[in-house]
Structure formats: C-alpha cells, structure tokens
C-alpha cells in the first residue's frame, strides 16, 4: 500500500498529453523521420543561396544537357541551367504553396464550419454550396480557375485553397455538431453564454487537434496539386523554378535525360512522404479516436 502511494506522484508527473505524444512517437518512429526530413527540406529551401547554388534561371547554351557530375550535381537542362540550383529553389515554391494552402484553407474552413455547425439557417445554405463545390474534382476546379487568371504563385495558392476549403468545412461542421451535444457545451449555453463566446471558449479549443492533423494532410496534397498544375501548364509561371515546372520542361527529353525528371520528382515525393509520416504520427498523438479507426 505504502509502495503504491509512493509510486503515484511519479505516474502523475507526466501530463496525459505528453505521455500520449511519447507513446505515439514510440509507435511511430517514422514520424520523427518525417519531421527531420521536412526540417531539412525547409532548411535547404531557406538557405538555398548559400548551398553552392548558382542563379537558377541563368541560361548557358554551351552547358546544355550535361549529365550529373561533380561540377553539376544534378546535371544541367536543355537551356544549360543548373538543375541542382533549380531543384533547391523549387523547394521554396512547393513548401510555400503547401504551408499557405494548409493555413489558409484551415482558417477559412474553420470560420465557415463553426458558423454552419452552430447557426441553422447558415448551415442549410452553405452546405448546399459546399456539396456542389465538392462534386467538382479538385484538380479540374483549380485548372478552371487558373485558365482564367494570370499565372502566379498567389493564384495557385488561391485556386488550391478553394478546392480544399469544403473538405475542412465538412470536418469542422461534424466536430461542432458532435460537441454541441456535449454536457459542457449545453451547460455553458444554459448558463447564458452567448453564441460567439460559446464558440470561441468551448467549441474552438476542441477542434484544434483534429484540424492540425488535417492541416498536415492538406499541406501534402497541396504540394502534389501544385506540381500537377505546373506539370500540365496551369500552375506556377515558367520564370519561377518549381518542381512541377522542371518536370514539365523535361517531359519531351525524359527518355534521353531521365535525371531531369528524377531529381525534382524524388524531392517532391520525399517531401510529401515526410509530411504524411508526420501527419500519421500527429494523428495518433492528438486524435486517438481517429487513429484507432484507421
């Protein structure tokens, strides 16, 4: 009995959330790997000018289509541009688009979702619009938008965000509908708490964990969509090196010079994989209910 009483404080010294994080990391060592790869990629993108790169747009006809070598780590493309430099600078585009879309669509989806989950007449209207938007295959919606606007990274971010918002709204709405029935929310309403305050103080904090998990997956899918859009000529403008653009330009040459596709393709896959692994780990740590289902 005495021994058990002494053991108690030790058990309680770690908060349940932290313990859950530790357990999740033990079960998902790959999440740490994902975080490390992602951190390295972000570091490389930020430090691109100091990592032995040259101007990624510098055209040099005499240096056309050199295979990878000590001088040109990833070779040169058909205009003599250094592929290593282009890939490293391209990381900036992918990561910017991924992060921006994850943040913007989560915020927009959160605002709309909170309103629809709590205000009945908004729900009826907004969900019909969301159902319609969700019936348009995401890449096609983004293509339609990009066909009508000038190519720019801002427009790419906007187009992809628009395709992702309905999915976030769905998630937030289902969370809010579940939370609304919880005793602590009913108690708050019964105690005379206003709608706005109920939403901010009682509902919002409980949506954070699933939204963070969702945001990592949004980031991964946004990076793929950006590459797809650039690859088919409806994405990042050609004067900015992005992984999709590099691959698009190498399309006709790939049987002769596969490295032009390989390096940007490998970087993109690796980064998306890292974000997905991180997301799986976070899902286990933050959202045990969902984790058990998957």
């Amino acid at each position: 009995m005495a021994a058990a009483a002494e053991a108690l404080p030790a058990v309680h010294s770690v908060s349940p959330t932290r313990q859950r994080f530790k357990d999740a990391l033990r079960r998902h060592p790959t999440a740490i790997l994902g975080a490390a790869v992602l951190a390295a990629m972000i570091g490389a993108a930020l430090a691109a000018p100091w990592l032995g790169t040259v101007d990624p747009q510098a055209v040099s006809p005499v240096k056309r289509l050199h295979d990878p070598s000590v001088a040109y780590w990833f070779g040169t493309d058909m205009l003599g541009r250094d592929v290593y430099s282009r890939v490293l600078y391209g990381a900036r585009v992918s990561l910017t688009v991924g992060l921006a879309v994850a943040i913007l669509s989560t915020l927009a989806g959160l605002a709309i979702g909170l309103a629809t989950g709590f205000i009945r007449w908004v729900d009826a209207v907004v969900m019909r619009v969301m159902d319609g938007l969700m019936s348009i295959p995401p890449v096609l919606l983004a293509i339609a938008l990009m066909a009508l606007t000038k190519a720019s990274i801002g427009n790419v971010i906007f187009a992809i965000t628009l395709t992702e918002v309905p999915r976030v709204v769905r998630l937030v709405r289902s969370l809010v509908l579940g939370l609304r029935e919880q005793p602590f929310v009913e108690a708050a309403i019964a105690a005379g708490t206003g709608t706005a305050r109920t939403l901010v103080r009682h509902i919002l904090p409980n949506t954070v964990a699933p939204l963070v998990v969702q945001a990592t997956y949004l980031c991964a899918s946004a990076m793929i969509t950006e590459a797809i859009l650039s690859f088919i000529g409806a994405g990042t403008p050609l004067n900015i090196p992005s992984w999709g653009n590099i691959m698009a330009e190498a399309r006709s040459l790939f049987q002769l010079k596969p490295y032009l596709i390989f390096f940007p393709g490998a970087c993109l896959s690796l980064t998306v994989l890292a974000v997905n692994l991180l997301g799986d780990g976070l899902r286990d740590a933050l959202d045990p209910r969902l984790a058990r289902r998957m």
């Binding site: 295959p137 088919i232 393709g265």
Partner: protein, 313 residues
C-alpha cells in the same frame, strides 16, 4: 425504393445547379478581364473584343446564364474558341480512351486493393500488414507522374516489356489494347489503391472483432469463408463508399496520366485547352466530370441496399 430513387435523382439537381452556377460564374468572379487573359499577351483590342463577344461577356450576367443553361439542357456544351468546333463533338471524339483508362484502372484497383486490405486486416500487426500500410503511405505520397515515369523507366525502357506511350483501341485487338493500358492504369491506380486498401483494412479490422466472426470460426468455417462470406460482406458499405469517392482522384489523375502516356483522351484535350486558354472546353469538361462523379456516388448510395439487407429505402 423507386420513390427513393426519384428523390435522390431530384436531389442531384441542386448539386449540379451549384456546380453549373459556379463553373459559369468563374468567368465573372475572377479578378481582371478573362477575355484579355484568354487572348494572351500579344492580343489586339479587336481580338479581346472578339473573345468577349464569343464568351457572351457583353450580355448581362443573368441573361447569359439563362441562355447557357438552356443550351446545356439541349446538349450544347458551347464552341471551342480555338478550333471553332462544338465542344460536345470534341469530347465525343476523345471519350473512348478516357473511359477505357478509367475502367481498366477501376478494375485493377478493386482486384488488387480489396484483397490487400483484407489480408492486412486478417494478418494485422504482422509484416504483411506493415507492408500493405507502407505501400499505402507511399501511394499517397508519390505523385502520379512520378510513378508513371518510374514505370516507363523500368518496364518500357529497361526491360522493354511494354510500349512507352500511346493508345490502341480495343477494336484493334485485346492484346495491344491491354499492353498499352497496363502502365497508365497502374500509375493512375496507385493512389486509388492506397486509399481503397487502407479503408478496406480499417473496415475489416472493425468487423473481424465482432462476435459473429468468432461464431463463424467456432463452427468450423474455413478462413476463406469467414473472410469473404462473413467479414467482407459486412465491411462492404464503407469500401464501396470510398471506391465512389475515390473516383475524384481518378478524374484528377486522368489529366496527368494521359499527358505522360500521350493518350488522346479528354484529359489530353483539357491540357491542350489550358495551353490555348480555351475556356469553353475546360468549362464543359469540368461540368461533365462533376456530373459523372455525382452520378457514380448516387449509384454507390443505391448499391447499399444490395450490399446490406438491413439498409432499406
């Protein structure tokens, strides 16, 4: 059942209405002058005015939407800005390869992903399960064109087993048709397989924990009978649902896959239309694919009664 079918069919009308209104309104809500963007950088004022008239941008918004919907209801999808041909005709010419590709992918996916998911759940926490889950994470992470080029690299260029690119109609024989279909369908299907395998595994895990599974095992049924006859039947609804939802992934992937493999389908038509900013084509393709997506998911909803006798409408 019939009443439910009619009700569900009617319910797709507002959804398609929102889609149509949205796709149509893009011309008006995008910043800047879409006619100028479509005409390109070297266009004259006359070119822009010509395109404005063609898109009907000079008319009032509601009038234009009304005539557009009326034409749509009569099967008129508009006229291509670049070729001056009716869009419906252009799509009809290109529809066969796209239908062939998506059907092949669908068949391959279901034949591979469902058994993978079943086996992973049956042998949960073993190396087979981990391998399937690893494949699933990889499938979600590798973009379709990266997979496509990897497959071409290995099977067409190194091993020379399959053709690099192109499409052969099924009318010219099964063998060449399938030879040209295997790689595109595999590339297009990977992410879809990852999704279906993952959901199949999750649904099966839930069902396998039920008492009636233990009863079935206790009365001496073979593993196969338990898995297929009892477990998979009861896990079918979420699996079929995700197969329906995943069609959106296929449609998005078709555009890229047809580009990589030089397949003259609707995806290729779309990519060519992007390069020429031929908006009527993009508009029509978006509408068409959205309608297909909505109808497939309606069919999925209706299939629930066949899969699960407890569900009645």
């Amino acid at each position: 059942m019939l009443a439910y079918l009619v009700k569900r069919l009617l319910a797709t009308i507002p959804v398609m209405g929102v889609v149509a209104l949205f796709v149509f309104s893009l011309l008006y809500i995008t910043p800047g002058d879409p006619a100028a963007v479509i005409a390109g950088d070297i266009a004259t004022a006359e070119d822009i005015a010509h395109i404005r008239a063609k898109l009907g941008l000079d008319e009032p918004y509601l009038v234009r939407f009304g005539t557009w919907c009326w034409a749509l209801a009569h099967g008129d999808l508009g006229v291509s800005i670049f070729t001056n041909l009716p869009v419906a005709q252009l799509i009809a010419q290109r529809i066969e390869p796209t239908v062939a590709l998506t059907l092949c992918t669908l068949v391959i996916t279901v034949l591979i992903a469902v058994p993978l998911g079943v086996i992973a759940a049956w042998r949960a926490s073993t190396w087979i399960d981990r391998a399937v889950m690893a494949f699933s994470v990889l499938g979600f992470s590798l973009p379709v064109f990266v997979i496509a080029y990897l497959l071409i690299m290995v099977f067409s260029i190194q091993l020379e087993w399959l053709p690099v690119q192109g499409f052969v109609s099924i009318r010219e024989g099964w063998r060449p048709f399938l030879q040209h279909m295997i790689l595109p369908a595999a590339a297009l299907g990977t992410v879809y397989m990852a999704l279906v395998a993952r959901i199949t595994r999750a649904a099966m895990l839930e069902v396998l924990a039920q008492d009636y599974i233990r009863t079935a095992q206790a009365k001496g049924l073979s593993s196969r009978d338990v898995l297929v006859g009892h477990a998979l039947r009861n896990a079918a609804v979420p699996i079929v649902t995700v197969i329906g939802i995943g069609i959106a992934l296929l449609i998005s992937g078709v555009v890229v896959t047809e580009t990589v493999f030089a397949i003259p389908g609707i995806g290729r038509l779309t990519v060519d239309a992007i390069l020429r900013r031929d908006y009527p084509i993009i508009q029509a393709v978006t509408l068409l694919f959205s309608a297909v997506y909505v109808l497939i998911n309606l069919a999925v909803d209706l299939s629930y009664t066949l899969l699960d006798p407890r569900i009645r409408y």
